[in-house]
Symmetry: C2
Subunit: 464 residues, 2 copies
């Protein structure tokens, strides 16, 4: 079992694609095995995505929720980390192809490439409504949000100023609810007293949802409670509203009754659609596997692909099912505990196969569901052996907070995040309100002269 | 003196351009005066530039050294903050022109626009050798440094790998010395054990200086000590070496003896030349003031411009002199304490003029000079009433450290920076090793196939 005692080439080589929750757990499970592992990750960090909205809303610095992959695997002598983007998988030759053309052979492959945004066929919306999957996305949203207030302070036209102070979040799942709740808190509290010409609290935060309730993965009673809490925070929730177009100056929606409405906004966040990584499609073409509507790849009960026991798919890329003996299989939700569990199962099944044992079917242990809404505000639906345990409000928020800090990687990060949250709680301030690239922030000019008076609002600005 | 008690337009309007150390101190000095102040800043934050190299070298997160301007001025009721870039100053009409064409009138103007890099007429070097003035610069350098190690891990050609593991810092002033020392520490300690194919400690860090010693603003004895400390940290210092060209794959130098040499490197940092903001030239053209060789504008003893007592220039943009009665004037160095002092003097002189008193000549209080080199390594040259007090090594480093933490803005930042430094000191780790935009990090492809063995070094990569 000592990885150094054998020549490398004689040991099975396992390639893990992606280092999100699924890939990270799979790699950890393999660290003491008599195998060589190569992890290929296209960023240099593992991202704690549940707190990414905090980076987008300037509550946390990026390094607090991102751990360098190399540091995580430093002590795993059998693990090699490569920074690179996988653009092809060739099961016939058992090779992975990287963007630069490099080919890496494998004996076993774990694909944990995750998910990305889906604009439901409207990719032209992407430049106007960033989603929230990567740190770059979070910085983009932070920049748009903060610069909208800045532009509003310089805008004299009431209609344009109103548009600059309108923030629209599309999709009322957990990310949309978090984003909208936090944006409302920023407008009402964080920025209070900092502007001279606008009142940030007059900003409107709209949460636009095509379905009939927020947090549809939650029980209806908690959805109803979340709706009340969102309203208290100042979020305007528009249910049964479908987005029909998005452009540089706003979006159009159509309601269930057939009416349409226009929302002028310069800061739109897309939290509506998730699609599996494009690697799913590639893999399906190469192996004959099938995809579900979200582009996720159908896997066998043991998380491998039909006809390809050497390829496993875990996390958000897998359309997996949970198998409890004596019960019908149930679909596995796209949440981080599921990805972690799949990573562990896939690794264990590879090791089982290597020692001529049989692979086991995946069984998802569901501990429940949390969603935060804002200050003192969250809903929790725990699965306990005695049935569901539900709570909302301040206690749920405290539970959410400590659960998230607990699962954060690294002592330093836990400490700093707790400190930042404590400070934000008491002061209403958010310390990461820094936009590195505002040097040329605001395109286009108007050029109207402004009278010589500091407090009037005649400084002209047009956004893009 | 209650700013709210008078109509705004009846009070003198002071415009401050820039919110570095000079602009910040000027604004603070005006916060209780019966004037209206408008601060125009092109980023949304005040940057604590002395620690910017720590962001570039992944030791600190950006928000730890950047304070949002609006937060700093929130309680100053007479201060309005505008995010914008000044592109023109028109003394005839007393107006400042912004990039978008907006015009802002002033009664008094303080220009504190600072300095930028100067490539000595070789702006074509800029894309290959970023300087270190803004957060965007720091992220650029962080990215280049970390991705060079990543690329080296994937490079099979020994010569290209050597180039990827060669880091060149041009200019051995305080910034160059800090950068080189920290880079050497990262290569030798931080990354130790994280790579499987390369030994990061084999990286070469070169510090290239045209002059005959490092830290030329320091006494010669401290320059000599700094040189020894740099060598101990593993930095190769090349004195009397002038850079004659920089391109995407390295740089050429010529030595005093006429010999030339080529250094292949993919991570080059420019710390050699500083030039005043281009606003200096604009201002000189508009007012008839003259510039020095670095583009700094010559100011009157009271920091105003000749013939324009309503315009003051402070900080790195000013070629100012210190006036001590009975002694000849001495030039003021481009350091942050000088900028702060100039900001205070300019503000006081404006208030004096407004109350029909005479302006005072600027007098620079020099408390000495610090430069850090690396772990336990710094030089300190303090000016005391009893003469200079000099030290180097561990004690100097501790002095440097606490002095910098003391001057950082914000309790939270002080605490986190101290914590990060303590953790870095004991663990050798640097927590901000996060590059947000590595998704498509490495241009160009080679496409050679790689044998199926995880630990060989045949994965191909060419940088740009």
């Amino acid at each position: 079992m000592n990885p150094a005692s054998k020549p490398a080439a004689s040991r099975p080589h396992i390639v893990v694609v992606g280092c999100g929750f699924g890939g990270l757990e799979a790699t950890r499970s393999l660290r003491k095995a008599d195998v060589d592992v190569t992890v290929i990750e296209r960023t240099n960090h593992h991202l704690f995505q549940p707190l990414l909205y905090q980076v987008a809303t300037a509550g946390l610095a990026a390094p607090s929720i991102a751990a360098p992959v190399r540091v995580l695997f430093r002590r795993y002598a059998n693990v090699t980390t490569l920074l690179g983007e996988v653009t092809g998988i060739e099961p016939a030759t058992r090779e992975v192809v990287l963007a630069d053309g490099a080919r890496i052979g494998y004996d076993h492959l774990i694909v944990a490439a995750g998910a990305t945004h889906s604009y439901f066929g409207h990719d032209e919306w992407a430049p106007h409504a960033p989603g929230l999957k990567t740190l770059a996305d979070a910085f983009d949203i932070r920049r748009r949000m903060l610069l909208s207030f800045e532009a509003a302070e310089r805008e004299s036209d009431p209609q344009r100023r109103r548009a600059l102070l309108t923030f629209a979040v599309i999709g009322a799942g957990p990310t949309g609810v978090e984003m909208a709740g936090t944006m409302a808190e920023i407008a009402r509290h964080t920025l209070s007293g900092e502007f001279r010409r606008i009142d940030p609290a007059s900003a409107e935060v709209l949460l636009i949802e095509g379905g009939s309730r927020v947090l549809q993965a939650m029980p209806e009673s908690l959805s109803a409670k979340a709706l009340v809490q969102l309203s208290k925070l100042g979020v305007q929730v528009r249910l049964n509203s479908r987005v029909t177009s998005i452009d540089a100056t706003g979006l159009d929606t159509s309601q269930a009754d057939g009416s349409v409405s226009r929302i002028d906004s310069h800061c739109i966040v897309w939290a509506a659609g998730v699609a599996a990584s494009p690697l799913g499609k590639l893999l399906a073409q190469a192996t004959g596997a099938t995809l579900d509507r979200a582009g996720r790849i159908h896997v066998e009960p043991d998380l491998s692909l039909a006809g390809h026991p050497e390829i496993s798919v875990v996390g958000d890329l897998a359309a997996a099912q949970s198998h409890v003996p004596g019960k019908p299989p149930t679909p596995v939700p796209g949440v981080s505990p599921a990805a972690k569990q799949m990573g562990r199962t896939a690794a264990a099944n590879i090791l089982a196969r290597l020692s001529q044992q049989s692979a086991k079917a995946f069984r998802y242990a569901d501990y429940g569901n949390l969603a935060t809404i804002g200050r003192n505000s969250a809903v929790v639906d725990l699965a306990t052996p005695f049935g569901p345990f539900r709570m909302s409000g301040r206690l749920a928020w405290q539970f959410w907070l400590f659960a998230h800090v607990y699962f954060l990687i690294g002592f330093r990060n836990r400490l700093v995040v707790l400190m930042d949250w404590a400070s934000a709680y008491w002061s209403f301030q958010r310390y990461a309100r820094v936009v590195p690239d505002t040097e040329a922030p605001l395109a286009s000019t108007a050029g109207r002269p402004v009278p010589n008076a500091p407090n009037d609002a005649d400084v002209i600005l047009q956004k893009e």
